[in-house]
Amino acid sequence: MFLINCPFCGERDQSEFSSGGEAHIVRPKQPTELSDDEWAEYLFMRKNIKGIQFERWNHVHGCRKWFNVVRDTSNDKILSVYKMGEKPPVNYK
């Protein structure tokens, strides 16, 4: 268990949140022009790394807002939290 600093409500327990998977996946502008492999790549393939990962989270039992989190998956440390639409912090890339 860990604490997440919701950008709207403040620090809350992880049990109030729901993970939305990897962040910053951009939907292709012309899906009809993609091959099956490219479409499957966009739709299903996700990173599952040990280390720093950019994720989407939803404060489902609180303000119900989505936001982005930079989390180190090796120790569950939250390194940064930022709102949807904001640019990811460059120092973790």
Binding site: C9, H61, G62, C63
Partner: protein, 182 residues
């Protein structure tokens, strides 16, 4: 058998904790973010919407709870201003300045009073009540006994707990049972 329209919630006093049902409350959910929305709501309710997270604003007629950056809940006694929903709907929702929803039937308001109420709530919630209990007017959405609730610290050691009607009896029974152990 659960009667969801009239939940079986009676007044209980255990270990300096009073638990009772506040059925008469009207609840209205309002959503919006543009300037016209804030102006119209301010004019109709004579209240400034709280923009700081986990806070509320009150006057003699209404309590307005912050739920998220663009969502609030207004609650008040049904005897007062019964046409306020129509007024808000006409001036905001129908003009697309925001959205107004009557959620009176969706939520039940359970009032909890007493010195040990925060120990009781803490025993089933991951929320840290330290700041909440020291600030009258605080509001929050969290989980109590795995159930989504909205909490409003109305006055010192007096909390209004809003819960979905279908969960209300179960949560009430948990509150009564847990109050034996605080």
């Amino acid at each position: 058998m659960l009667d969801i329209l009239h939940p079986n919630i009676s007044n209980i006093n255990k270990n300096n904790i009073d638990i009772n049902l506040s059925e008469e409350k009207i609840k209205i959910n309002i959503r919006g973010k543009n300037k016209e929305f804030f102006t119209k709501v301010g004019k109709i309710l004579s209240i400034i919407l709280p923009t700081e997270s986990n806070t509320s604003s009150s006057n003699e007629n209404y309590d307005v709870l912050w739920l998220s950056p663009d969502e609030w809940m207004i609650n008040f006694d049904e005897n007062k201003n019964s046409n306020i929903f129509d007024q808000l709907y006409k001036d905001i929702s129908s003009l697309n300045f925001g959205s107004i929803t009557d959620i009176s039937s969706q939520l039940i308001c359970i009032n909890i009073k007493g010195e040990n109420i925060f120990e009781l709530l803490s025993s089933g919630s991951p929320f840290n009540f330290e700041k909440f209990k020291n600030n009258v007017g605080s509001s929050t959405q969290t989980i109590v006994n795995h159930i989504d609730v909205i909490l409003h610290h109305k006055s010192k050691n007096n909390v209004n707990l809003f819960v979905r009607r279908s969960f209300s009896e179960h949560l009430y029974e948990w509150l009564v049972d847990s109050s034996n152990f605080v």
